[in-house]
């Protein structure tokens, strides 16, 4: 709690990160998968001497350049911007722990982009064999960017040995590293195929268009065969808490956060399957009639799928930003006892020390709840608190101070509330103003 707080009405900081990150993943995975796509497809063109494939690749590379270097890079920087504003403590931890890894990542990344510019501007200007080597170089460099960043991403959910040794290498090569990297890699191949469908569907010559569409569709084969296996492998590594929540959520989904993870999971699995089927019955079986409009529709489903999967992964990590080490609200697990003793405000550099009542409650809400909850909107408190009055809210908050799963169902998905009794009362007083509108004695309408 050493940083000022950034407030985003309605959407919340988490929502901002989520939107930017989903778009970025959709583009960055294309950048890596596309690298492999260029290398293999250009090899095919080189060996067969087929100029039509060369022409197609040239067109595709312009689209690729714009999408990855402009939108991919902007959203990549956008993630840094959003996470350092919304989750400064978490970002701080990642930078401090992985300084060297980040440096290596940037090195690969800058080289990768530079290589692609050379690749793009040297079409027909250098010997074809040399150009092919550039494609290989780009593919290898872009795969390395994945290999580096995925160590840090998987560390957040399964930090493994790092928790005891605090050695970054232990955190980097954690249990989920291999299956998650494999999963991303086959996802990248599929996305490369998906983008290739867009450009291939615009080809004029029907026979060649059919050929390229069927070729692009085949890029979904690795994820079709390996995806389920890697998913099972990842499921075996996951912490028990999210698995329990998913298990419960499959039968209970009336409402609330408890079932959201299960619903997101169901949706991720369903969307992936639906997309695979669409690629099979569309561009593969019916390439002749596969239109750019249909390709655009598939792209939308692809973006949804990626967004859903990333959302599920983020939710599984709840209540932590680094599992078993730091909570989503930036409070470290080992700070909680001291905060309960001295008060949360005593450990927060950016909260005035002499606040009382609702003003204090408001600050506590910003510091401890706002990383996930908004006053209204996405995970809005007005909705979640329902018709509870101050006393009921206080009772709920007392339950949330528990750290024992047997005593509080919230432990699995929310950080424990830290602070003194007086602070909890102040927070309750503040929260009761957020749902005041719900406490009119009006008949309840059916919940949707």
């Amino acid at each position: 709690m050493n940083y000022p707080l950034w407030e985003v009405p309605f959407l919340g900081g988490a929502g901002v990160i989520g939107i930017i990150a989903s778009i970025h993943v959709f583009l960055s995975h294309f950048a890596v998968g596309g690298g492999i796509f260029f290398a293999l497809t250009e090899r095919w063109a080189f060996n067969s001497g087929d100029n039509r494939i060369y022409d197609y690749l040239k067109k595709h590379s312009l689209f690729f350049l714009i999408v990855t270097t402009v939108f991919g890079v902007v959203t990549g920087v956008g993630i840094w911007w959003a996470i350092s504003l919304c989750s400064p403590n978490g970002t701080h931890t990642l930078i401090q722990t992985y300084t060297l890894a980040w440096a290596i990542e940037y090195l690969f990344f800058v080289t990768e982009i530079a290589t692609f510019f050379v690749y793009f501007y040297s079409w027909d200007k250098i010997p074809r064999k040399t150009h092919l080597r550039l494609a290989d170089a780009y593919a290898i460099l872009s795969i390395f960017t994945l290999l580096v960043i995925n160590g840090i991403l998987t560390f957040m959910l399964t930090p493994g040995g790092w928790l005891t040794s605090r050695n970054w290498v232990d955190g980097f090569f954690n249990a989920a590293y291999v299956p998650a990297t494999g999963m991303r890699l086959i996802g990248m191949l599929a996305l490369a195929g998906l983008y290739a469908l867009v450009t291939a569907s615009r080809l004029r010559d029907e026979a060649f268009r059919v050929r390229m569409l069927r070729y692009a569709a085949k890029w979904f084969l690795p994820i079709f065969f390996l995806g389920p296996l890697l998913a099972i492998w990842i499921a075996l590594i996951l912490p028990q808490a999210p698995l329990d929540i998913i298990q419960n959520g499959l039968s209970t989904a009336a409402s609330g956060t408890f079932s959201l993870m299960a619903r997101a999971m169901v949706l991720s699995v369903f969307l992936s399957a639906a997309l695979l089927l669409m690629v099979f019955v569309g561009p593969y079986l019916n390439a002749r009639y596969f239109s750019p409009r249909a390709a655009a529709a598939l792209m939308v489903v692809g973006l949804l799928t990626v967004g859903m999967m990333e959302w599920t992964r983020e939710m599984m990590r709840k209540p932590y930003v680094v599992y078993n080490y730091m909570y989503v609200n930036g409070i470290r697990k080992d700070e909680i006892p001291a905060m309960n003793r001295d008060g949360a405000t005593a450990h927060a550099r950016w909260i005035a020390k002499d606040l009382k009542g609702e003003a204090l409650g408001s600050e506590l809400f910003r510091a401890q709840c706002m990383s996930c909850h908004n006053k209204q909107g996405y995970r809005g408190m007005d909705k979640l608190l329902g018709e509870r009055d101050v006393a009921a809210i206080r009772g709920l908050l007392q339950v949330m101070r528990e750290t024992d799963p047997a005593k509080s169902p919230y432990v699995k998905i929310m950080p424990p509330l830290a602070g003194t009794d007086a602070e909890v009362d102040a927070l309750a007083a503040y929260l009761s103003t957020l749902n005041a509108a719900n406490r009119k004695n009006e008949p309840q309408l059916a919940q949707r």
């Binding site: 039968s251 997101a264 949706l267 019955v281 569309g282 002749r288 009639y289 529709a297 059916a446």
Partner: protein, 365 residues
């Protein structure tokens, strides 16, 4: 019987021959290949019927699964739906798909009806296709109306009460209709039983017959062509075979529709209000489902007496005239008189705008 050591291709060929000898699938294939779909800038509308069909498939499958757990008994109905929502594995998903699917299906039917209307696909020889479609839209309303009561929560109870009260105001048959629907003096066990029976037995049977006829007529007359396309010289008319090309495109659209329904169901699952208590006062601001809103709103505006009739009766007569006017379209606009065709189009536009305006108005008020 094929020799077990024979190569696989021979085995397959044997199986294929066996199937062909019994089912003559090649004839079907030829039939599908003969049927072509015109390709033009408004071809998109051709998918709407298929969209409604896949939604019907979703409704049938999810409805069947719901029936395995639903109890049409006044003391258990609400609890059994709650059980589906909270205890049955994936029950929430199936129920939400059924609810969302129902709403999207009715929306798709509206779009399907108006798009075929404005493309003048009702013109002879397609009167029967048009009429069966119109009746099926009414059947879909019936499905919505009867299914809405079954969870027996507060809102569904009172919305149904209003609906039945309005129906019993129909001219001539009002009282009979009201008693038939209620199954007694008040909405209660009799109503649940009847609505359940209508919802899972009567309407599906009626729909099956009508749908068979509807699809048969499309097979007979082919896909309708808009006027501009008809005027093209034969060489410029782009077409694609229905099977497999359009069928596979349809499959992509169907997958998109299923995806949409699952997406909505997972992100916004349907909850359940408190159990209905007939002795409670109706909750304030109770409204019927959105597809009845326009009628509901219109009835609110009608004065209590119009000439010799009660206001509500007059409203019902008015709706009947509009529905009848739409249904009669193929007999009025037969494609010979451009003035009548223009009038018909204006009538359709007026109905569409009226529906949209009154629905939004009903929603806002």
């Amino acid at each position: 019987m094929a020799n077990p050591t024979a190569p696989l291709s021979t085995v397959f060929a044997t199986i294929a021959t066996w199937v062909e000898d019994r089912f003559s699938l090649n004839e079907l294939k030829a039939m599908g290949a003969k049927k072509t779909v015109p390709v033009h800038k408004t071809s998109l509308w051709y998918y709407l019927g298929g969209v409604a069909l896949i939604l019907l498939v979703i409704q049938t499958l999810t409805g069947g699964l719901l029936m395995a757990h639903y109890i049409p008994e006044i003391g258990s109905a609400h609890a059994s739906v709650q059980q589906i929502n909270n205890k049955v594995e994936f029950g929430w998903l199936i129920r939400s798909m059924h609810s969302w699917g129902a709403n999207i299906m009715i929306l798709a039917l509206f779009v399907h009806m108006f798009s075929t209307f404005f493309m003048r696909a009702y013109r002879p020889p397609r009167e029967i296709t048009w009429l069966t479609g119109m009746v099926m839209l009414v059947v879909a309303f019936g499905f919505g109306f009867t299914g809405y009561l079954l969870p027996w929560d507060e809102v569904s109870f009172f919305a149904t009460k209003i609906g039945v009260d309005i129906s019993s105001k129909s001219p001539l048959i009002g009282d009979i209709l009201g008693n038939l629907l209620r199954g007694g003096a008040d909405i209660g066990q009799g109503t649940i039983s009847r609505f359940f029976m209508i919802h899972v037995f009567v309407l599906p049977l009626v729909l099956m017959g009508l749908l068979g006829l509807h699809l048969m007529m499309i097979q007979f007359h082919g896909i309708s062509e808009p006027e501009g396309y008809q005027k093209l010289p034969e060489g410029e008319k782009k077409r694609e075979p229905f099977f497999p090309a359009f069928m596979l495109k349809d499959a992509v659209v169907w997958l998109l529709v299923i995806t949409g329904v699952v997406l909505l169901s997972a992100l916004a699952p349907w909850g359940l209000g408190p159990e209905a208590n007939p002795y409670n006062p109706a909750p304030a601001g109770i409204k019927p489902e959105w597809y009845f809103l326009a009628m509901f709103q219109f009835l609110k505006l009608v004065p209590p007496h119009v000439g010799p009739m009660e206001g509500e009766q007059a409203g019902m007569v008015f709706f009947g005239l509009i529905g009848g006017g739409l249904a009669m379209a193929p007999f009025i606009d037969r494609g010979h008189n451009p003035f009548i065709a223009r009038m018909m189009r204006l009538f359709g536009i007026a109905v569409l705008i009226g529906l949209i305006v009154f629905t939004i108005w009903g929603y806002m008020s």
